[in-house]
Symmetry: C2
Subunit: 239 residues, 2 copies
DNA sequence: GAGTGGTCTAGACCACGCA
DNA sequence: GCGTGGTCTAGACCACTCT
């Protein structure tokens, strides 16, 4: 019917349903989810498919499983879920997060050398550059510098990013979905722009993350340099 | 025959084989792994089982998959893989890592309040306490404070931990396997013991991790407070 | 013993990349 | 067109937990 063939897999649909039920409070911390066999019947699918959905929920920290008992809903983390796969906006929740654009998006050359190795295609295409500050309760928490290869993202630089999730824009407008990535992190003393944008004193410790973010497009990754003021909020992750 | 029923699942065995082949250089960065169908035949198992093994390799960052092409061996990270599931010793490699015991293991009471919420059983049992420093190339990298619930770990306090992996000892001597966990991290200024053990100046930024580590034993988790000097090595993780 | 999750088989069809 | 990985079915047996 419509122009696109969406075809969301069944296990993903079930994942989204259960996730929504957990985050919206239908199931609360400590509750048991329906058994795998129940979920088969109510969703009209077989156990391997149900298990794919549950595996994802485990991976994302929403439930834990116990053989012989069932699937138990976990407490939702109160920290900042930046280390997991979701973008910052989804991790913190739209309500409390504001985004201020400092610069861009503009097209320019890549830094040379760049933190991560770049392919020839990436180098030739140039890069879309953005600087943003993310605020929680109106206090700056992240200073985020984003680098996207300038490949097949029409009209990207004329879009509005103020208070919007980059991940959402990529997914909804360009069908680019984040599938994972890698990151390096260290503690550094704040200086220069970092002090200014994060509102911290010179020399104060801040978290420094370098991330490579992979997508469903083959050979399309983008990059993010992130400075985080962790005096009030910890970063949170599961493994 | 023997006293224990080990019964390592087939997908785990295949995972270990492939992992060893990758880390030992049989497959190198950029190489294609055999196709899933090939792996079915050579290992005498079916595709869902092969896929479980490959999924784990993807999760641990050894391979990436591309529909229509195959499974590609990734570059092995050069950073410190502390954010993934393996213990520190396996993450860095035994060759370069030394462990110095500063204190313990001794049995004592839990800090009150403790960083993570504790169950009644955990509180009553008391805690096994250890302080260790991990050195890479003879330079201190981690200052690690470990808290284990004192539940069913006979003779634990009289074991030798010098230059040995805690995860290995737990697995081999007590059949306690690490299945995952959660962590909070922040950048803090070094002071007191941290300066001393990590050999950094007062006020120098260090990484501070608080980890809860879950195991295959129901209701058995242990805890680790970790300070890391990231001036020379980054921490590395995939997501 | 009944119910749960853990593992596994033996097939099937589809979407994607490449020659 | 062919081989690849992605998804899914319809069963099976086992180990574990609870009663």
């Amino acid at each position: 019917m419509s122009g696109k063939k969406q075809n969301i897999p069944r296990y993903r649909q079930v994942y989204e349903i259960l996730r929504k039920h957990i985050t919206s409070g239908v199931y609360r911390e400590g509750d048991m989810l329906p058994s795998e066999n129940d979920l088969c019947q109510t969703n009209g699918i077989t156990r391997p498919t149900v298990r794919l959905a549950l595996d994802q929920l485990v991976k994302d920290g929403f439930i834990k499983k116990q053989q012989g008992k069932g699937s138990i809903v976990c407490a939702q983390p109160k920290g900042i879920g930046i280390l997991s796969v979701a973008g910052t906006t989804t991790a913190i929740g739209k309500e409390n997060l504001k985004t201020k654009i400092l610069e861009g998006p503009v097209i320019r050359k890549w830094d040379d050398p760049f933190v991560f190795p770049l392919s020839e295609v990436e180098k030739e295409s140039g890069c879309i550059y953005m600087e943003r500050v993310r605020l929680v309760n109106n206090k700056p928490l992240f200073y985020d510098i984003t680098f996207l290869p300038n490949i097949n993202l029409p009209r990207f630089t004329s879009r509005t990013f103020e208070n919007r999730s980059l991940f959402d824009i990529l997914r909804k407008s360009y069908q680019v979905k984040v599938t994972g990535g890698e990151q390096r992190l260290k503690a550094i003393p704040a200086k220069g722009k970092i002090c200014q944008h994060l509102d911290v004193k010179e020399g104060e410790p801040v978290l420094h993350l370098e991330r490579k973010i992979n997508t469903n497009r083959i050979d399309y990754s983008f990059y993010s340099t992130l400075f985080c003021n962790t005096t009030e909020h910890d970063l949170f992750g599961i493994f």
